[in-house]
Amino acid sequence: MNVLLDNLGLYMSAFVGTVELFLVAAVGSIIGGLLLAAMRVSPVPVLRAFGTVYINVVRNTPLTLVFFFFAFAYPRLEIFDLSFFARACTALIVYTSAFVCEVVRSGVNTVPVGQAEASRALGFTFGQTLGSIILPQALRSVVPPLTSVEIALLKNTTIAAGFAVFEAGGIYQNLSERGYNVLVGLLWVALGFLILVVPLTLLQRNLERRWSVAR
């Protein structure tokens, strides 16, 4: 208990760092994922191909490697100076977007083609079909798995600590400098993550139960 109480400030600022990183990357990855998904279901073959290649490459790349690139290799390209925080966010967005895209795409694909055909037959425009027929149905099968992707993102933010972004994964270094028991300190970090992750998991299960469509 002392380890936590004596270093409360350290824990607070570290978890604030984690949450900041998570929020920025979550919003970014959802935007990026939607763009990629739009490409992957579009009727333009080139865009579809680009989306497919991006997804297949990124999903098979270790996140640590993406971080490695943005931490050590990116500065060598001398494009423009980004802070470490911005580079960590970029790495997380590049990686997570691919997973968000897959969730959105498979969600859109769960809507039977007949739904769209019927709405077109009724004379709905593309916008109306998308807005009132397909998206409301797709949303139900997208949001629960999307929540689990974002939970994984929250846990993945810890990797940033391995590359000198200050957040919850980096607490142990400060603790060992201050001479505290690292094991106890790390168990408190684990508990902190439980507190962050468990509500999201419960939300996800709740959504999954209530929103699952019987087809």
């Binding site: 073959p45 865009l47 098979n60 050590f72 290799a73 060598r76 897959e102 992707v149 810890t158 168990l187």
Partner: protein, 292 residues
Amino acid sequence: MTTVLYDAPGPRARRRNLLLGAVGVVVALGAAAFVVYRFAVTGQFDPDVWQWILYKNIQLLLLDALLNTLRAFAVAAVLALVFGAVFAAGRLSDHRWLSGPATAVVEFFRAVPLLILIFIMYFGVSRGLGINVSAFTALVLGLMLYNGSVLAEIFRAGVASLPRGQSEAAYALGMRKTQVMTNVLLPQALRAMLPTIVSQLVVVLKDTALGFIILYPELLYQARFLGSQVQLGSPILPVAMVVAVIYITMCLLLSQFAHYLERRTRRTRPGDPAAPADGTAVEMEQVRVGTP
């Protein structure tokens, strides 16, 4: 081509699509050209930063690193499968005193970030309890606990997704609980879940790269080491590119294998009562994409 979103294109839509395609090509090529240009300007294509690739020692070093990666992957994968099987059996048990703790363990290790688990093993246990834990052990144990818990969940979902009639019929034939599980439920569930299991192994392979952070001498670690050698011209980008190609190729191969298994299970579906219904296929895909 008719999809949910788009009707078969008419002449105007075809023209628009062609235009969009052209714009897409220009943007993609432009971005790629810019990156290549930056590489060229900063001298990443100079022969002297690629010299290292010719040195035999460095080739052996990278090969050794690759073997270290594969060793961690193999050990962690086997341990995770065992861990997953044990805890899935625990969760499926009818005894509250067994399923309760098993559920708690699985939920705990799924909620805690893998890197924190590895840190707990490596820094926490060694400095807090004074037990010497090697980087390899810490990495493998962390991977086992996290992926084992995810696999336990996959196994459990696989058994739970089978039609109730399967176990009911087996009980009606007078089979025991263990017999029902091992002879009826598991063979079907394993087959249906095989692609998901292999996909989870891809995650194990990817996550071995975390060993880099605790200085386990795997590919990424050696890439960092080589990249900081001034006498080689600090070739961090060239080394990173080579290592990236190795990682992505390995993971792609394993993913392709998962994909192949999935197609194979799907092919046998018609008329096969053992195969899961369509709904579970969708759920399975979501399980698969949901664990980055």
